[in-house]
């Protein structure tokens, strides 16, 4: 009986389920490397992942030891966990035991498997996204067909002298390999081969699922193609196709991992208790000291990103400002076509599909600027093209290097020795050539004539505008106060020579800067027709309120406002005062952050962060989201005035403006899920950087402009680099702990949402995320969610030493 291709595809889909997703570098989305195992409880998933991919799932003993010695793990909490499990050994003895177990189980260096090597070579050739001067031919026919044409030239495929020596299609190839094997044996066989190079496989898997991936549409590749090639090569190499060891079922728990799990839980509980105590203190202070709120000079809305907490705190301290937190794509599911860019980029979360296209066009008053910019771009482009030709042309390369070496050597020396000066020069050049952010406006209005075939609709209908504006104010629980200026500030990083720039940009914008989305929401909110519709829905924006867009540079903490200074929409004095205060907040925030870097070189925080932003050899331009530990959903009064050390996502929310729970439901199913992906990526990248992270940046190479490999080839690296997680070789910066969500809302409302959102309750029941509810209808009691759906009072009611306690007593 011929093999049914539909059945084959289903078996492959099942076998690939444990493998996660890997996005290409330009949209490097954070994701849980164990995403495919998220339907299982956390500890079980870790066991299974160890069997499938190798690697650790818990922090190492020395990580626990350091946390223990530095007082991050509360001895009482640890003792309680030990007592609960009936373990009598002392903490010290347990640390020793874990250390010994690690020494015994030290993994051997990965074997240099010729089959893996052949696959990596073909994959690298096929997925190249414009780096190769001589790209692989026949790619339009798909991976299997292209490989079949070229395999005869590869010495690694024995007995293939002509394409006809190889099966004609991927189905034939798999039928050939599977002949005589029962269908029940297919999935374990496929799983074994799909998990051998999880980096490449997760890259293909993501690409297959993408709805609009130009590379996939032009050069299709599927897991079936991949397996057809891999199994054909394996068979011809005379390899056994099935795993030597038994099936890859999760091994039973070892004592060492049970101890590690216990230490992890004790550390998490200690850390969460500290945070909850801080919140308690903050709530007491704000409820005692809040006078009748005056109209602030400005309200600034930042991304929920943990980095926003620092700058928000400093802005609130420098002047009469109010800050809010909202997902950094500002609720606009869009693709952004930047001015002059060849293709658009998605700027919304990985779990959201873009529904609109927003293009930047020169504003009428600034067409001269656009012309000047275009002219400079043409000159630069011609220069780049000439340079590439000279570098890659066999005849010209040697003469070119000899003739131009001095110039490039000097540029190299300047970049290395005086990065800040070069950064200043870059800024001067931008001033001269023009910045599209300043002379362009987004096409916010719907323009059907400009739609492209198969493209997303350009601009937004009136209904869509009203929907996104209303959603923003409802989700944030905005209330009635609108300041004269409301700023929506997206964020982006500034880092040259960094293939992982996307991992430092906005996670809610698919690893892109959020400024373009901020501009769209600001334009919508300034639209009188939108304001009229919002008024009918109870959102009354005063006539003197102006919405501005801006972008927070997370590397330097500078905030740029996208304002046309020739024709400012608010008074020049108000604008000047706001800018001066933002600059002061930048100074304070940069001072705070530069203290967290080892070996700061510049004298002030701002200078230090500017140097990091300009230095092409800097492996730690900023910490990104390292340190993230909690996701707080509630009003600012929960956290205001307390330093959270940039470790908390802050999503504004007011339970009083959300009677039916829709806003909270949207936050729990959207932003919280993205937060969980970020948290698990940091967790697993920290606990096993070689398997789930991407190793040291020093030895990174970019593969085909698409992904990162270590050294000169091999499997794709899937997670974060060591330098994003560790202060130096010895000390970690990120504490590998699971995320805790804190929700300020009545507990029955939260329960009702969990009951109708299986996706969220599954994350909680499987312990990928913890949840604490602060119930305002029950005296702000702290209640912790227990897997299965019960609640227990949080065991940390004792606030920090608080003078108010004494007064109350």
């Amino acid at each position: 009986m011929p093999i049914d291709r539909a059945v084959l595809r289903a078996r492959i889909e099942n076998a690939a389920a444990p493998v996660g997703l890997l996005w290409p570098l330009e949209t490097f989305n954070a994701t849980n490397p164990l995403l495919g195992l998220e339907a299982q409880p956390f500890h079980e998933a870790i066991r299974r992942a160890r069997a499938l991919f190798g690697g650790r799932g818990y922090p190492q003993a020395d990580t626990f030891r350091r946390a223990w010695e530095e007082g991050e793990i509360d001895p009482d909490v640890l003792q309680k966990h030990l007592d609960d499990r009936g373990i009598a050994a002392s903490p010290e003895a347990l640390l020793f035991e874990m250390e010994n177990a690690e020494r015994d189980a030290r993994p051997s260096a990965p074997a240099d498997d010729p089959l893996d090597r052949a696959m990596c070579r073909w994959m690298a050739a096929f997925v190249d996204q414009g780096q190769a001067p001589w790209p692989m031919p026949h790619r339009r026919d798909g991976f299997y067909a292209a490989w079949r044409q070229l395999a005869p030239y590869d010495g690694a495929v024995p007995g293939a002298r002509r394409p006809d020596d190889l099966p004609a299609t991927w189905v034939d190839a798999l039928a050939d390999v599977l002949a005589g094997r029962p269908e029940s044996s297919w999935e374990p066989l496929f799983e074994h081969h799909l998990t051998a190079l999880p980096g490449w496989v997760s890259f293909i898997k993501r690409r297959m699922r993408a709805k609009r991936d130009a590379w996939q549409q032009t050069y299709p590749i599927t897991l079936a193609h991949y397996l057809a090639v891999r199994l054909t090569v394996a068979k011809r190499m005379g390899r056994s196709l099935t795993p030597d060891a038994g099936p890859t079922d999760a091994p039973s728990d070892t004592r060492a991992s049970q101890i590690a799990a216990l230490w992890l839980e004790a550390w998490e509980e200690s850390d969460r208790n500290r945070l909850l105590r801080t919140l308690r203190t903050s709530m007491r202070t704000s409820s005692n000291g809040s006078a009748a709120a005056e109209r602030p000079a400005a309200q600034l809305v930042f991304c929920i990103d943990v980095r926003s907490e620092i700058i928000r705190r400093h802005i609130e301290q420098v002047g009469p400002y109010e800050t809010h937190g909202y997902a950094g794509f500002f609720g606009i599911p869009m693709q952004h076509d930047a001015y002059g860019a060849a293709s658009g980029v998605k700027t919304c979360p990985p779990i959201v599909d873009p529904k609109h296209r927003i293009a930047d066009r020169p504003a009428e008053a600034h067409e001269d600027d656009a012309h000047r910019y275009d002219a400079w771009q043409r000159i630069q482009e011609a220069g780049r093209s000439l340079l590439n030709t000279l570098k890659s042309n066999v005849a010209a390369a040697f003469g070119f290097v000899e003739g131009s070496g001095g110039f490039f050597g000097a540029a190299l020396a300047a970049r290395t020795l005086a990065p800040s000066a070069l950064g200043t020069m870059d800024e001067a050049v931008t001033r001269r050539t023009g910045d599209p952010n300043q002379f362009c406006t987004p096409t916010v209005d719907r323009q059907p004539d400009a739609d492209t075939e198969d493209g997303l609709p350009l601009g937004l209908s009136h209904e869509a505008k009203v929907l996104y504006a209303e959603a923003a104010f409802q989700l944030m629980g905005w209330g009635d106060t609108f300041a004269p200026i409301v700023v929506f500030a997206g964020h982006g990083s500034q880092t040259p020579n960094n293939p992982y720039k996307s991992s430092l940009d906005c996670g809610a914008c698919a690893g892109n800067p959020g400024g373009p989305n901020a501009r769209v929401l600001a334009a919508i909110c300034n639209d009188p027709a939108v304001q009229a519709s919002l008024r009918e829905r109870g959102i009354d924006i005063p006539s003197d309120t102006v919405f501005l867009a801006g972008q927070h540079n997370t590397t330097t903490d500078a905030i740029t406002l996208f304002v046309d200074d020739d024709d400012p929409p608010v008074s020049a004095e108000a604008l000047q005062r706001l800018r001066a205060d933002l600059e002061e907040a930048q100074t304070r925030a940069a001072d705070e952050r530069s203290g967290t870097f080892a070996g700061a070189r510049a004298s002030t925080g701002v200078d230090e962060t500017r140097r990091r932003a300009a230095d092409w050899a800097e492996t730690r331009p900023e910490w990104g989201l390292a340190g993230n530990a909690a996701f707080i959903i509630g009003p600012r009064s929960l956290t205001k005035g307390q330093s959270l050390d940039g470790r908390c996502f802050l999503h504004s929310y007011d339970w009083r403006h959300d009677a039916d729970g829709t806003a909270l439901e949207t936050i729990l199913t959207g932003p919280l899920v993205v937060g969980e992906w970020i948290s698990t990526q940091y967790y697993f990248s920290t606990v096993d950087n070689a398997v789930h992270g991407s190793g040291s940046k020093i030895t990174h190479n970019v593969q085909g402009k698409a992904a990162i490999v270590q050294g000169n080839g091999g499997d794709l690296m899937t997670g974060l680099p060591l330098q994003s997680l560790q202060t130096d070789d010895e000390r970690r910066y990120h504490a590998p702990l699971r995320l805790m969500a804190v929700v300020h809302a009545p507990v029955d409302r939260v329960e009702a949402i969990l009951d109708r959102q299986a996706a969220v309750s599954q994350l909680l029941n499987n312990e990928w995320v913890a949840l604490t509810v602060v119930d305002p209808t029950d005296g702000d009691a702290f209640l912790r969610y227990e897997p299965g759906g019960t609640w227990r009072p949080a065991s940390a009611p004792a606030p920090m030493a608080d003078p108010l306690d004494a007064v109350a007593a």
Binding site: D4, R5, A6, V7, R9, A10, R11, E13, N14, A17, E183, M208, R209, K211, A327, G331, P349, I351, V352, D353, A471, E665, T666, T669, G670, P671, V673, D755, R756, Q757, A758, A759, S761, Q762
Partner: protein, 124 residues
């Protein structure tokens, strides 16, 4: 809606003749949408309908429909009508999937007026 006379002149049959066919309804998590879509594209059905963001309760609990900021957590429902052989091919491709992944399918008898519209290349 075409008038009966047009219908009659095109098919040579009365407008009320109903032809028996099979209908398949499939509900899967939205992450399987591209998988099912490719299966249907491959199977030779002449067309299909997709309902995104459907709501309902299953063995994994309740799934709410429309979510503003998550296009991945929802359920997708497909339905297609075709000959028994074509529908059987789809069933063959989904049966192994449901061994590991959540989802349901229902096959039922249905009748259509314009037979040509529902018979894909494989059946012609």
């Amino acid at each position: 809606m075409s008038k009966p006379t047009n219908e009659q002149s095109q098919t040579g049959q009365t407008p009320h003749t109903l032809h028996p066919l099979k209908k398949i309804e499939i509900i899967v998590p939205s992450e399987k949408e591209t998988f099912v879509q490719e299966l249907l594209d491959d199977s030779g059905v002449s067309g299909y309908t997709i309902h995104r963001d459907v709501a309902g309760r299953g063995s994994h609990g309740f799934h709410e429909g429309r979510l503003l900021f998550n296009d991945r957590a929802g359920l997708v429902m497909f339905f297609a009508v075709s000959s028994e052989d074509t529908i059987q091919a789809i069933v063959d491709g989904l049966t192994p999937l449901f061994e590991k992944s959540s989802g349901v399918m229902f096959v039922s008898d249905t009748r259509v007026v314009r037979l040509n519209k529902f018979l894909g290349e494989a059946d012609e």
